[in-house]
């Protein structure tokens, strides 16, 4: 990947209590690209996003965004950096005491001195981009899951971020909403000239929209490449994951005592 990298991750390790979550991660996220980080639930994908956003500090290694090491920033610098980042949370994380309009206007009101009339126009523009201009006076509780995700997306792009992070944007959506969100991620990235990181385990939907894929398992990157390169892999865990095969390198059964021993049909081994 010859283009300049917006995010660079080097030898990243993260340990939660004593449990290693990430081990020796190296990643480059080039400017203007949509990059997916895939893997099974619990493989450390969301932790990685939190490390990029500066919510967690690495045990070892560095995360650099626009050349600045995130863990070395003080709170003010970190907040300045975050103003240029947008994050879409898995369930939207909309402020439930505010209307759709106020949710999208939130960052504009907090971080800018724009007059209310201009904020109104900007909010309607953002809502129009996600197709929900007509829903601006609804409360978050009256939105469906897919609509809430789109409002959250409009809120995340409110200040035209340079880096968008999506945490499981496809989880729990119907097939129409899946396509809508997928298209929005791609189109907003290109229209805003942003860079996007999509953390997901939805292979089929994300393969359609991303430029590059990192595969993670057990806290390590085990494969990377363009969607075509990943699809072409014909064995191993990635193949099993991409094609949704039940058994393979990743066993169906969680490790435990033998079935017969659990049913008391034979003595358990010490």
């Amino acid at each position: 990947m010859p283009t300049e990298n917006l995010v660079e991750i080097r030898d990243l390790n993260f340990t939660y209590d004593v449990r290693p979550v990430l081990q020796g991660i190296n990643m480059d996220i080039p400017r203007g690209k949509v990059v997916a980080i895939m893997g099974l639930s619990g493989c450390g994908k969301t932790t990685l996003l939190r490390l990029i956003g500066g919510q967690l500090k690495p045990s070892q290694g560095t995360v650099k965004v626009t050349g600045q090491t995130i863990s070395a920033l003080d709170q003010q610098q970190l907040y300045r950096m975050r103003r240029r980042m947008g994050m879409l949370f898995q369930f939207g994380a909309l402020f439930t005491d505010m209307s759709v309009f106020d949710n999208v206007a939130f960052q504009m009101r907090e971080h800018t001195d724009l007059p209310e009339a201009l904020i109104r126009d900007l909010v309607l523009l953002k809502l129009e981009a996600v197709g929900l201009r007509g829903a601006h006076d609804l409360m978050p509780t009256s939105l469906s899951g897919g609509m809430a995700r789109r409002v959250a997306l409009a809120r995340a792009i409110a200040l035209d971020p340079m880096l968008m992070m999506y945490d499981e944007p496809f989880a729990g959506l119907d097939t129409i909403s899946l396509g809508v969100i997928g298209n929005l991620i791609r189109h907003l990235n290109d229209a805003l000239g942003a860079t996007s990181i999509v953390v997901t385990h939805d292979v089929q939907e994300s393969m359609k929209i991303v430029d590059y894929i990192y595969f993670m398992s057990g806290g390590k990157v085990i494969a990377q490449g363009s969607p075509d390169e990943i699809r072409a892999l014909d064995s191993g865990f990635v193949h099993q994951f991409v094609h949704g095969e039940i058994d393979g390198p990743m066993p169906f059964h969680y490790p435990g005592a033998s079935y017969a021993a659990d049913l008391a049909l034979e003595p358990a081994h010490a």
């Binding site: 919510q55 103003r83 949370f89 898995q90 994380a93 402020f95 439930t96 939130f106 960052q107 907090e110």
Partner: protein, 264 residues
């Protein structure tokens, strides 16, 4: 046997360390709230909104309770005072009981159960649904934007609620003592007026209710902020808010009374 004793010692040590750690975290949290309070006053409409939720919406329960407490004081006070032929002191008894003790303490206990529990549940749920994290990711400090306005709203509301509790309580005592039983109205009010000292009684009551406001609101906010982000975590935190803040109010009341009226 040795294993069990070791486990017990380890468990005790663990609990003590956790307790001290939590106390330290609570102190740092409280300090952070004070340091990030600027926005609560610069954008006072944020605080006003919270005063509405915790103060104005608590008015009904405060006024109704105050009225009944005053009426009971009127009845019980009359029963006792008439034995000594001192019914005329009923106004003094009702007013002093309310202004010095019952007003601040009962209003704070009611505030803890009505507004404190609501604050904890709200903050806890905001945390569980990642709203607090989302705010941090949008470079908005949740302590300044969410916690501090609620804190100052509680501190401002509490003395006002206590004052209204006492006022309506005195009216309740008047209703029972003067209107129902027939104590002399002039004596009721004039004795009250001469016996209640503004600085010693009223101001000390106001100081008490301010301290209770700080304690109840700080506990409610901390419990919500520290709640594990699960349904069970939020429910436990809400219970802890009511229990801890009620005990804190009663303990603080004893300390404050000892300092104020006994001059220890």
């Amino acid at each position: 046997m040795l294993d069990r004793s070791l486990a017990a010692i380890r468990g005790t040590g663990h609990r003590v360390v956790n307790g001290v750690w939590r106390l330290g975290f609570a102190s740092r949290f409280f300090l952070a709230v004070l340091l990030h309070s600027g926005i609560s006053f610069r954008r006072f409409q944020l605080t006003i909104k919270e005063i509405y939720f915790s103060g104005v919406l608590s008015l009904i329960i405060i006024l109704v309770s105050g009225l009944f407490v005053g009426m009971v004081l009127g009845l019980q006070g009359y029963e006792t005072l008439q034995k000594y032929g001192s019914e005329s002191a009923l106004g003094t008894l009702v007013a002093l009981s309310l202004v010095r003790e019952l007003g601040p303490v009962l209003a704070a206990l009611l505030f803890a159960s009505r507004a404190g529990s609501a604050i904890t549940a709200e903050i806890g749920l905001m945390k569980a649904t990642e709203q607090i994290t989302a705010m941090e990711m949008m470079a908005v400090d949740p302590i300044a934007r969410v916690i501090a306005p609620r804190f100052w709203a509680g501190v401002i509301s509490m003395p006002l609620l206590a004052a209204m509790f006492s006022a309506i309580g005195v009216f309740g005592g008047y209703l029972v003592g003067v209107v129902m039983i027939g104590v002399d109205e002039g004596q009721f009010w004039s004795q009250m007026q001469s016996a209640v000292d503004f600085r010693l009684d009223v101001m000390n009551g106001v100081i008490k209710s301010c301290v209770f406001g700080v304690a109840v609101t700080a506990i409610a906010l901390f419990e919500g902020y520290d709640a594990p982000p699960t349904a069970e975590g939020v429910s436990h935190a809400t219970t802890r808010t009511v229990v801890t803040s009620s005990l804190a109010v009663l303990a603080l009341d004893f300390l404050l009374t000892a300092f104020m009226f006994r001059g220890i």
